[in-house]
Amino acid sequence: MLTRKICMIGDFAVGKTSLVERYVHSTFSEEYHTTIGVKVDSKLLELPSGDRLTLVLWDIAGTDRLATLDANYLQGATGYLLVADSTRRETLETAVGLQQQVESRLGPRPFVLLTNKQDLGEQLELNPDALRQLDSRGWHRVPTSALSGEGVEKAFAQLGQQLLAP
C-alpha cells in the first residue's frame, strides 16, 4: 500500500484546517499548530476501485499566504489540495498564484481545487466565468463545506484517484 504526503495550500482562513479536521480523526491536538506551526494527520483512503492509499496530510498554521510555500512544508509532497473561500473573491486569485508557485517548486503534481464554505450559499462571490476558465485548463474542482461536510470526502477521493493514475 502506498503512502503519500499531501499539503494543504491556500489563503488564510479559507478552511484548510477545518477541512482536515472534518476529514480525519485527529491524533494530535490543535495546539501543535500554534506551537510548531504544522500539524500532520493521516487517513486511509479506500477508493471505489478497491485501491487503498494512506494520505499523510500536512496543514500549516501560517496566516501569511506565502508561509504555505515554506520549503520544508512542500518537500516530498506528492500532491496538494488548493483551497479557496467561495465567499471571498480574492482567495481564488491567491489560490491561482499559489498553484503556479507550488508547481515551479515541485513540478507538475496532482491537485484539486476546493471552493469551500458552500454552506454560506447567499454570500457566494466567486466569478462563474473565472471558474469555468479554470475548468477548461483541466483543473479538478470540488465545491466543499467543512461545516456541512459537503464535497469533503469527494475532494480527497478525487485527489487519491489522480495520485494513483499512471
Binding site: 502506498l2 503512502t3 503519500r4 504526503k5 504544522v38 493521516s42 499523510v56 506528492t78
Partner: protein, 648 residues
Amino acid sequence: MRQKAEKGPLARRTPRASNQDELEALKGLLLGEERRQLDQIDRRLTDPSLRAEDLADALPDAVRLRDQRDDELTEALEAPVTQCIDSAIRHNPENFARALYPVMGPAIRQSIANTLRGLVENINRTLEHSLSSRGLRWRLEAMRSGVPFGEVVLRHTLVYRVEQVFLIQPGSGLLMQHAADELAVGGDRDAISGMLTAITQFVRDAFAAGEGDALENIEMGDHTVLLVHGPHAYLAAVVRGIPPHGLREQCQSLLEQLHVHYKGLLEGFDGNPERLAPLQHRLEKCLISQQRESERRNRRSPILVLLGLLILGAFAWWSWNQWQEHRATQALLEREQALVSQLEKAPGVMLSEVRYGPTLRIRGLKDPLAPSVDPLLTNSGLQASQIDLQMRPYLDLDPSLIVERARRKLKPPPSVTLSLNRDRLILRGNADDAWVKHAHLAAPLLPGVNEVDDSALVSPDQYLLEEAKRRLAPLPEGVALAAHNGRLRLSGQAPLEWIAGSDKRLEGLPGLEGVDRQGLAPAEAAEYESLRSRIDQRALYFSDSGAELGDKQQPLLDALARELRRLQELGRTLERPFHVIITGRTDGVGAEAYNKALAEARARAIREQLVSRGVPPELLETRTRIEERPILDPQLRRVDLAIAPLQD
C-alpha cells in the same frame, strides 16, 4: 595454467615461416600437446555452454566461501530470492503448501509455545507484584490511569525498553518502515512520522542550526525519542525508561548499515513501505529492553506468598472472632454484676444465691412492702430471657420499710409525717389527741419499733404556718406570714406572678380554712408609681431657640426611653394603661404663631427620638403650652413629660 599461458609470447618469437600452413604444421610439431590445450582453453572461454559448465562446477564452493567471509551474498540474494519465492507462490501455491507442510506444524506449535511462555511469564510477574505493598500502589496507578496492570508493572520494573523504531524519509516525513514490540501504544504511525519530521525541521529552522546539526533527543515524561540522521532516512527510536549509552551508537550503526546495504531502496523510496519490508527484521533487532537487576533476583514464589497470606488471614479471622466473643461475654458479665449490686442495695431485698453465666440465676427474699425490682431488671441491659429471678417474701427491718409498715398500720392524718430513729418512731406535724393515743398503743407492736416520740407534734396553727412556709418557699423579701385559727394571712409586697401562684401552692394544705391577702400589694404597683413620678418630673432642655436637643440631653433620652418601656410593661401586667403627654414649650420671645410652631416641633422631635429608641408610638401624645404673657426665660425652652392614666 599460468605457466602455460606465459609460453604464448615465447612461441611468437620463433623464426617466421614463408607460409601459414607451414607455420601451423611447424607449431603442431613443435608445441604438440600444448597447442591442443590452448585451443581447448580458448574454446572454454568463448563457448557459453562450456563456461556454464565450468561455473556450475565452481559455484557451490564459491557461494560457500563468500558466505563464510561476510553477509554480502545473503543481502544481495535476499531481494531476488524473496521475489522468486513470491512469484513461485503466486504461480504454484500447491507445490509450496506441499513443501511447507512438514515445516508448518512444528512452526505453529513453536509459535504457540512461545506465546504461552510469554503469557505465563507475564502472569508470574503480575502475581509476584500483586501481593506486595508496591504492587498495590501500582494497582492503584493502573486503576487511575486505565492502563493494564501488567503494563504498569513492566513500566516500573524496566530500566529501559525500546518500544518502537521508526525509519522515516527526511524531507517528506513519510514512514518507510516501522517496528514495535507488542506492548507499544499504537497511535497513528504515519501522522507521528510526519510530526516528528515537522518538529525536527522546526527546530533546525528555529535555531538556524548548521549543516548536519539536527535534533537528536526528545524527552517527555519517561519516554525518550532518540533521533539518528542519515542522508536518505532517519531513525527514531522510542524508548521508555533511561536509554543506555550504547543505544545511540547501536542505532547509528544500524542506520549506516541500512544505508550501505539498501542504498538503492532508501534513495528510491516512493511511498511504498512494502518495498522496504526486508528492513523490518533489522529494525526489530533494536527493540531491546533491560529489566531492573533487583526485580530479577528477588523472586519469591507467588504461590507460597499467597499461601502464607491465606494462613495469616485465617489466623487473624480466628483471633478476631475469639476476641469479639470474649468481649461479648465480658460485657454480659459486667451488666450482670451491675444488676446484682443494685439488687443488693435495694431496700427489702436479700439475695441468697447468685450465679453468673449466659443466664443470670438469682434466688433471694423480698419484703412485699419493698419497691418493685422490675425497673432495675428492665434497665439492666439484660434481656428477660437472660435473667432467672425467684424471690420469696420476708419481713425486712430496713428503716424505710419499718416506716412504710407503720404508715399502713397507723393510718396517720395527712398533717402527720412519720420517721424512724433507731427503734423510735417519730411523729411530726399536727394530729388530734385520739390518733396520738392510738399511735402510742399500736406502734410498738410493729416489728422494729419500740418507742413512739410525739415531741415534734405542734398546734394546728403552728403546723399550718410551717407547712405554708415550706410550700411557698422561697418567700419573696417583704412578705410576712401568719396563721390564726386555721386562716393564713399574707402581707407585704410580692410580684404579681408569685401572688397569683400562691393559691395553687397552698391547695390541699391540711387544716387550712382560708387565706387572707388584704395586706399583700403587688411589687409592680410600687415600681409603677415610682417610675411614673420620676417621668413626670422629667424635662428635656433645648440649648437655643431651635428644635434640636443639646448633646448632653442624649443620655437623658436613653434613660427616659428605658423607663417608658418598663412602665409600659408594668402597666400591662397591672392592667393600668396610660398615655405619655409630651408638652412642647418655648420662652416668651417671638410672635405667638412662631412660638406655637416651635413648641410643636420640639414636642414632635422628642416623640421621634423616643420612637427611634423603641417606645411604641401609640403611647406618645404631643401637646404645646404657650405662655399667655411673654416671659423671657431660657428655662422655658423645653419639653415636659407626664403620664396620664387612661380610663377605659
